[in-house]
Structures are given as C-alpha cells and as structure tokens.
Amino acid sequence: MGNGTGISNGLTLKMSEDASEKLRETIDEIYRLESRRVLATLIRLLGDFDLAEEALHEAFTTALEQWGREGLPKNPRTWLVSVGRFKAIDNIRRRARFDSSLAQIANELGPNTENPFETEDEDIEDERLRLIFTCCHPALSPDAQIALTLRTVCGFTTEEIAHAFLTPPPTIAQRIVRAKAKIRDARIPYEVPSHADLPDRLDSVLHVIYLVFNEGYSASFGASLTRHDLSSEAIRLGKLLVELLAEPEAIGLLALMLLQESRRAARVSPTGELILLNEQDRSLWDRAQITEGLRLIQQALASRRFGPYTIQAAIAAVHARAATADGTDWNQIVALYDILIQADPSPIIELNRAVAVAMRDGPEAGLVIIEAILARGDLNDYHFIHSAHADLCRRLGKTAEARASYERALLLTQQKSEREFLERRLRELYNNAS
C-alpha cells in the first residue's frame, strides 16, 4: 500500500480509494466491538447521556479523518474515549460563551479529571455493567428501561427499537428522552449497586433482558412469531452480563434463554403455524445451544444461590435431555415446578405445573388444578389457560367444553400463529364431531 511509485494518477487514486475503503471497514469493526464500552466510559466522564452520545459520534468522525493520515492508534478504544472527552469539553466551552454555568462544568471536566489513558481494562468492563444497571434502574418505567437498554447498551437505533416493538418511533424517542432526563434531573447514580442492593437491582436487569428475549421469542402481537433479532440480542446481553457479573441467576437466565432459543427452528411449521413442544421435531433443536445451556445450569446450581430463572432453566433442561416427548421425565418436571412455586409463587407457574401433572398423571389430574385456578379468577384473561383447559377437555372427550375454551382463548390472543393453532384445533373438533 502507498508505495509511491505513481505508475499513473488513476492507479494512485484507485489505491487510495481501496485504502480508505479498508479504513472504513476497520472503523466499522471497531465501532461494532468498542462503541458501547467507549460510550459507557464517556457517560461516566461527562456525567450526561446526550453529551456522551454526541462525543462518541464526534470521536468516530475524527477517527475517520485522522487515522487515514496517521494510521491506527495503539489502543483505539482509549484514543476514542480521550478524543470524545476533549470534543465534549470543547463543545461545552463553546456553548458556555452564552451560558456562564456551563463554563464551570467545562472546567470541572477539564484538566483535573482522570486521564482515560490510564484506565485499566477491567475498569472499562465495569463501566458497561454500570451502564446496564443505570438503564435498568427501577425508578424508570419498564418500557423506558427496555428502550434505553437497547439504545445505549446494545446500540440499536430508535427506529430499530420501534420496529422490534411495533411502536411508532416518536413514542420510543420520547421514552428515551424522558428516561435520560430523569436519570439526569433526579440524580440516578451511574454506578453498580452496592452489595446489599445487588440482588434486587439484578432482578430488575434480568427482568429487562428476559422481556426483550420474550418479545423476540413469541411476539405478543402481529404476524411474526419469532423476531429473532431481539432474542439473539437478549442472549448477547445475557452473555455480557454473565461475563461482567457471574451471579448464579444471571447464569440461570442465560441458560434458560439458550434452551428456549434452541427450539426455535422446531417451533413453527414452514407455513408459520405454532408447533407445541410435544409435537416438535427434536432433530431440529440446536445442539450447541443445548450443550451450552446445560453446562451453565450446572454452574448455576452448583452455587446453591440460584433462584427462579435457574429453576426454569432446569425444567427446560429436562425437556432438552429427552430424546422423544414420551421419554420426558415428568416426575422431575413436576418436582422442579414444586420448587419453583416455593421460590416464586404465581398462578402462571401453577398453570404450567398443572400441565406437567397432566402429562405425568393423565388429563383428569391436570384439569382439576386448572379448574381450581380458574375458579379463583386469577388468570381468566390469559389465553394459555383456556387453551390448556381446552386441550385437556379434548383429550378427555369433553368436546363441548373443549370447544368453548378454545373459543375463549381465541378471543384473548392477537398473535397470528397462536390464532391459527387454535382455529385448527377448533376445526378438528368440529370435523370429529360430525
């Protein structure tokens, strides 16, 4: 490159185009790998999300100009942090001509703050953790936590988030603006919570990651059952979290997501219909994800400090280990649900346990439990309980009751593949009856 023989102007031009193309690719790659870590550090140094985003953008713009002339710096990440910070201070100073309070901020950020070149790598790892905990702070609404996490930790654009959640972009943009304003104005600290607060605050982070995963895994509304991007992003986020903070429940959640994700290819028929676990072609399950999931569960269980996510992962693992649906160890699954109900009592878990009991002891036993839950009125608007009820009635030959419950379920879901599945069951019932 750049050997300067200058055979012809055309060639020289061609070579420099290649070089700049190559540089652009390198910078794109660095952006992909490092931009979130640079952003996390800039947020800490500048104390403001918007300033940091602006600084990040300017640092990369400068890199594009300067690295072409001077070559790549030895450590691009620290270079970007440093340039971003100086650009931000510069910007504040320029604006400070119109606002004297900004001048003070610029001075505080100026020469006396620590030199990012001296920052150790481990500290920078910590900063992404700081960013995750701040974006998932419980003082922000869950919607805002999700949007802000995807925007700043994952680097999604506002349009991408809007598209993934089938929400108009201005709504997402407003959520993000408000969340940033609240972090700034209510002084939500930019830090990893103290040891005492960690379990509760970690719950909030895991909840956000699992919501993102579920949104991708089973889109609650609309045509596509699996919006793969969100699920794989949630898994990526789960891996990052485990890398930064190897808490058992973080490991358990990652295992749970991997084991659920392993069934993706088997979950929907080529014509887009939902296929239930017991009817799935298990040769389509992703073995690599299962292996990784099983290994992580062992790790989480060994800690003896595991919780609901790990137990749910252990249940998924029993399915993953069974070569056929008939070979499933329902005894173990019911036992795990018993533990899960202790750890995290909820009617939805009772419902899942009822389905497992039906598999172990027959439909009648499951039906008794489901009807008890319905009688309490806890899940009357939840479509799964009605379709589970319908399924057990169907298997017991209670056709009229099965039909009524499938119809009830159909009223309660907008998800296209779910609806098609329920409609198919209903058709089958009518055909068998006639």
């Binding site: 419980p138 003082a139 922000l140 609404s141 805002a144 609240k182 104005d185 209510a186 509760d200």
Partner: protein, 119 residues
C-alpha cells in the same frame, strides 16, 4: 403556629408561563416573595420541586424496598413545592398563601402543622 402551604400546579390549564422570559420572571417573583415573607417574619422554609417526571415512589413491604417510576404527570394536579410559614391563625396563613405566585396558576392547600409533644 405553623402552617404548611402546599403548592399544586395544573400544567395543562394554560395559566402557566408560556415563554422562557415569563418562566424566568416567575422564578424571580417567587424569590422576591420569599424575601417579603422573611422580612414580615412569616417565612420558615420554602422549596420548589423538580418536575414530577423525575419522581420515584418508594415503599417498604415485608422488609423489602420497592422502587417504581412515577407518579406521573398525567394527573391534572401535581405537587410543585411547599412553603412552611409561621402565622397567627388560618386567616393570616391564607393571606400569605394567596400571595404565593403559584396561586395564580395552580392552587395552594393550607394545612396547619401538628405540634406533638412526646407523652
């Protein structure tokens, strides 16, 4: 005796400041009124609050802290601040409250403060 003047804003009633200049003027007016109350001997403490969007709700239940976002600005009336005053009776407290600039845009609740003694 002490009275608390609780200041409520009604952000959507169109009576609030419309321009940055009007907002600045309002802040100055508030600070001037604080000074007036200091000189008349009514003033104990007064604080204005950051917008309700910055609020966080905290509960302790079964020894566990629960933190949530909100309350939200969707409610018609939002708490904007308070002035704690010394006044001889409710009549005088109401006169003081009426002079708080926010009374023209929102409204003020005047509440007498309990003065407990340990029994």
């Amino acid at each position: 005796m002490k009275f608390l003047c609780v200041v409520y804003e009604e952000p959507n009633n169109g009576l609030g400041p419309q321009t940055e200049k009007e907002a600045d003027d309002l802040v100055n007016e508030h600070l001037d009124y604080d000074e007036t109350l200091r000189q008349s001997g009514h003033w104990l403490i007064a604080q204005a609050l950051q917008p309700v969007e910055t609020a966080t709700t905290v509960r302790m239940r079964n020894g566990k802290i629960s933190i949530t976002d909100g309350p939200f600005a969707e409610t018609k009336e939002v708490l904007g601040g308070f002035v704690l005053i010394e006044a001889k009776d409710m009549e005088e407290a109401v006169q003081v409250a009426a002079g708080i600039p926010s009374a023209r845009m929102g409204f003020i609740h005047v509440r007498r403060v309990y003065e407990f003694e340990k029994k």
